[in-house]
């Protein structure tokens, strides 16, 4: 059984026989799955919320601007109007653009099924390429993302081969929080999007200065497991992860200090 929301992954997978489900269930008429609102200090993003919705949402711009930036890098306008954030984490390809931002924001995945509901922390969600903890007969109703305390700063840096629509070759999400807390996650650099707790620990309580960054970068190779494929080499991805992390740390810190470039528009 497969769930159909936007279908931007499902339709080509079905056509190319990459998956052969006995049943495809369209959830678009189920009530409540299109919600994008604030509930108990968290943003609730329903299963039918598209990346275009996220890009356009004032709530996202206000509370989770990095997620809005990440949403804007997915595919093209025509894809973003169909592709959903929940679908993106259910497809669970290693380059999944929602993964790193949701990981640093410690999102919760709200699953419903015939046995009732359960809530899965995003860190436990991904099992491998195209594999999640979702069981047959279950579907994701929504994802909740806690609104982080202020002052905060975040950055999502995504490497692609050209400016056109491309799968991420590597991505880094950084969230800087009060009291020197740092959260770091990588995408397309391991079988699943991954948090990097050792990197975070090295940064903890510190400013993103040269020394802290050098300490953090030393731990990057152990935090990720990039592969060589036709798109990029393992060595390139490994080297770029460090460069991107350094840039993302600077950007997040600048933004936390309120002196940096505005969210949601550009880095300049």
């Amino acid at each position: 059984m497969r769930i159909l929301a936007g279908g931007t992954d499902l339709v080509p997978w079905l056509r190319d026989d990459l998956i052969t489900p006995d049943l495809v269930v369209d959830i678009k008429r189920l009530p409540g799955l299109g919600d994008l609102d604030v509930v108990d200090g968290a943003l609730r993003i329903g299963a039918l919320v598209t990346f275009a919705d996220l890009v356009a949402s004032p709530l996202i711009a206000k509370f989770l601007p990095m997620l809005g930036e990440a949403a804007g890098t997915v595919g093209s306008v025509g894809i973003r109007h169909r592709a959903t954030l929940v679908g993106n984490i259910c497809s669970a390809v290693p380059s999944c653009d929602s993964g790193p931002p949701l990981l640093v924001h410690e999102a919760m995945v709200h699953v419903i099924g015939s046995e009732g509901g359960r809530v899965v922390p995003i860190r436990e969600w991904f099992l491998g390429p195209k594999q999640t903890v979702l069981d047959r007969g279950e579907l994701v109703a929504h994802v909740t993302v806690p609104i982080p305390p202020v002052p905060r700063g975040a950055a999502f840096v995504r490497l692609s081969r050209y400016a056109g629509e491309d799968l991420a070759q590597a991505s880094v999400a950084v969230l800087s929080l009060p009291e020197g807390e740092w959260r770091v996650a990588f995408g397309a650099l391991a079988p699943t999007p991954v948090r990097a707790p050792a990197v975070e620990a090295a940064l903890s309580g510190r400013q993103a200065n040269d020394g802290a960054i050098a300490d953090a970068l030393r731990l990057v190779p152990d935090a990720i497991a990039p592969i060589t494929d036709m798109r990029a080499s393992k060595e390139y991805r490994m080297a770029m992860a460090g460069v991107m992390l350094r840039r993302a740390l600077h950007l997040a810190e600048t933004r936390r200090a309120g002196a940096g470039p505005a969210y949601g528009t550009a880095v300049m």
Binding site: G164, D166, S171, L251, A266
Partner: protein
């Protein structure tokens, strides 16, 4: 009968940006491309392809597939009724696999079924067993084993000539794909009398026709090839793809059959640009005068010949570029391997060697401590000089120095414009801040022959018909999007002084060949034929009626309308047919010497790039160009050719490459075969030099290919300037910039 005596001016003649006649249907979505065609009761065709780059077929059983519901026919090698091979230069490629498959994706069987899904099921039900063989995929190994389509040597001048300053280098270019957006597609309709009508997107209907009738084993008049709407070509439609298969299926079933390749199939259904490995040595005096150029060019033709011999010749003849040099030696080897067949793509061999010699010119300038533009100017080829390779005297126009000087005078763009992420390397991925960026500027100059060379009997036929409502131009020339159709109209309007001109694409039974829409040839050939035919018709009419002018109202003498156009059409002469040739060319001698070309064009490009050296990302900011076009017939269409051609050159420079693994294409899709998008597109500033060709209509030269030739090395040079990296291979990868 009263005649008005007011003259109406022709508004859309030569020199104007006349509108395309097919523009309105194209923006409305009503223009019928070959993939849009259908017919009542049409079957769907589909092709079974080899999953191996090299294998013997030990068993081929279509029995189970014939029992799939909806299947009407399954045809294999044994069912090819006539000549079992086809090919552009030499018939060496089996219509369907002959017991051995020699490249990944080679057609083995074709199916006709009630719909696409039935056809797909039938393909899955065909039983094929293979004895998989080791594929030969390394061109250097193929060269050692003498597996070649052509080897050639161009020798000119004193082999002992030596320069004081010597630079050497190896250069590589990847396998580029034309990637026209319209997939290969066609519709074949049996005529009920043992013949067939094929509607297909092709660059040359008559050469398709020749190959189809040979394979079907029928007299030529049994098959008519009709041009249908063409969704881009760039060389990909010069070879036969599904033409013979469709006709076989239609003849066999007695029903119309349509076939449309999907994108993955399109990537194996047409030939590609030959990948190359080149070694060069340039020798010069201390003041920068070229003394001797030696080169070895290794191009891989893949499994079958296609147009590989002509591509090899072009790469070798243009191996020095538009520069004077009196001592030259070029060895060319075109290998035969189990890689995908390569053939025509915009630039046709001149692209590969231009990357080699322009990289060398920069290296030489560096060794001399000389400005690279000055070095090029010092050696710029001009009329009265001899081609450095073939020795041919340049008799027509060739404003090499002028295109370079004018290019240098175009103001450079100002510094980094950081107003939007799209202006930075990495784009909306926000990888790059302005402080991460370094800028580079690079120049390159390229040269190409126009029209067919080496004694090819190159002709085109045009028939002009006057009707009371306007002029008809009949031709079999393929309009692939470039705007030939508009240029032909403009020429006819200007000559006949009539605004209403229609271009009618005749099928192969109605008119003779127009030759290929390739080699930058149709403006000069079919455009030239329209000029000749309309001029001759006008002169016949004026002579017949003792008149002094002709226009849409009729025939005039001394300011009086003497014969109305209606009457003229009744009495004639109202029709004129020409078979039009360019001046003959010679076969080369054993040393590659001779007057093998008709005409040449040069172009110069300057690229400005912003590079993020830490991430290896490049944004091509602007490409400026000055091109030798002879005469501008339609400014808007010309700019379209130049900008589009530059984009394909930029694509080869930084992103476009088919990646092979044991002969298999790993990126036969638009996810991983990267085509430049709006977000990648540089701005272009284009200027023209108008020094008339000795042969083209109104002095025009073909303009389609030069933009694609030197734009690639210009971008590579700019990346070198920005990074200091050697950059000896295109497309340039991030690893090459980072130095991994």
């Amino acid at each position: 009968m009263t005649f008005t005596t007011q003259r109406r001016e022709v508004r859309s003649g030569v020199g104007t940006s006349a509108d395309r006649p097919d523009g309105i249907p194209k923006v409305k979505g009503n223009f019928a491309y070959s993939s849009d065609l259908s017919a009542h009761g049409a079957l769907w065709g589909a092709t079974l392809r080899s999953p191996h780059a090299h294998a013997r077929i030990t068993r081929l059983d279509i029995g189970p597939a014939l029992r799939v519901p909806g299947v009407s026919a399954i045809l294999t090698y044994d069912d090819v009724p006539g000549r079992k091979v086809f090919g552009l230069e030499e018939a060496d490629q089996p219509v369907l696999a002959d017991g051995e498959v020699r490249y990944w994706g080679e057609p083995i069987a074709v199916v006709a079924a009630d719909d696409a899904e039935d056809a797909r099921r039938a393909l899955e039900a065909i039983v094929v067993e293979y004895d998989v063989l080791e594929p030969l995929v390394d061109p250097e190994e193929a060269a050692r084993r003498d597996e070649t389509f052509r080897t050639m040597t161009v020798r000119r001048g004193d082999p002992e000539a030596r320069g004081e300053v010597v630079v050497e280098g190896y250069y590589d270019t990847g396998m580029q794909d034309q990637a026209p957006l319209g997939p290969e597609a066609g519709l074949a309709i049996p005529d009920g009398e043992g013949g067939v009508d094929l509607y297909v997107a092709t660059q040359w209907s008559h050469v398709d026709h020749e190959q189809i009738v040979a394979a079907l084993g029928v007299p030529p008049d049994r098959v008519r090839v009709h041009l249908s709407g063409i969704g881009g070509a760039f060389g990909a439609r010069e070879d036969v793809s599904l033409q013979i298969h469709l006709c076989m299926l239609a003849m066999h079933t007695g029903r119309p059959v349509r076939m449309v390749y999907n994108r993955a199939e399109s990537f194996v259904g047409h030939v590609h640009r030959h990948p190359s490995r080149m070694w060069y040595r340039h020798e010069a005096t201390r003041d920068g005068t070229l003394v001797r150029v030696t080169a070895r060019l290794l191009l891989d033709g893949g499994a079958y010949m296609s147009s590989s011999r002509a591509v090899m010749a072009n790469a070798a003849y243009f191996a020095v570029g538009p520069y004077r040099c009196d001592s030259v030696e070029v060895h060319g080897v075109m290998t035969r391997t189990n890689n995908p067949p390569c053939g025509a793509m915009r630039g046709f061999g001149a692209v590969q060697s231009c990357f080699g010699y322009e990289s060398q010119m920069d290296r030489l300038a560096d060794a001399l401590g000389m400005d690279p533009v000055e070095l090029r100017l010092r050696n710029a080829l001009a009329p009265g000089d001899h081609m450095p390779t073939t020795g041919q005297l340049i008799e027509g126009s060739l404003p090499t120095a002028e295109v370079i000087e004018r290019l240098r005078a175009i103001p450079l763009p100002s510094g980094l414009d950081a107003t939007h992420p799209l202006h930075l390397p990495g784009g909306t991925g926000l990888t790059t801040s302005p402080g991460d960026v370094v800028r580079g500027v690079g120049y390159a100059v390229g040269m190409k022959n126009l029209m067919f060379s080496e004694a090819f009997d190159d002709f085109t036929e045009v028939r002009i018909v006057l009707t009371p409502v306007g002029v008809e131009i009949h031709t079999a020339a393929a309009e692939v999007g470039q705007g030939l159709i508009t240029v032909c109209q403009q020429i006819a309007r200007s000559v006949l002084d009539m605004e209403h001109v229609a271009v009618i694409f005749d099928d192969t039974s109605q008119i003779g060949s127009a030759g290929s829409t390739s080699a930058s040839r149709q403006t000069q050939m079919t455009g030239g034929a329209v000029l000749a035919a309309t001029t001759e018709l006008r002169d016949r009419i004026l002579a017949e009626y003792g008149a002094d002018r002709l226009d849409a109202q009729g025939v005039w003498r001394e300011g009086e309308l003497t014969v109305s156009v209606d009457e003229l059409c009744q009495r004639g002469p109202a029709e004129h047919h020409v078979r039009f040739r360019h001046p003959p060319t010679a076969r080369p001698d054993d040393n590659g010497q001779g007057d093998v070309h008709v005409d040449f064009a040069v172009a110069a490009h300057r690229a400005v790039v912003d590079v993020d050296p830490e991430l290896g990302l490049v944004r091509v900011v602007r490409v400026d160009t000055v091109q030798d076009v002879g005469k501008v017939l339609n400014p808007r269409a010309l700019v379209g050719q130049i900008e589009g051609g530059i984009m394909q050159g930029v694509g080869l420079a930084v992103m476009e490459e088919l990646v092979l693994d044991g002969g298999r294409i790993r990126n036969a899709n638009f996810t991983d075969y990267l085509l430049p998008t709006f977000a990648d597109a540089p701005d272009v500033v284009a200027e023209f030099v108008e020094e008339p060709s000795h042969f083209g209509p109104f002095g025009a030269k073909g303009a389609g290919e030069p933009p694609t030739i030197s734009s690639t090395p210009a971008v590579a040079a700019a990346i070198r300037a920005a990074t200091g990296r050697p950059i000896t291979r295109v497309p340039v990868h991030p690893d090459d910039i980072i130095g991994l």
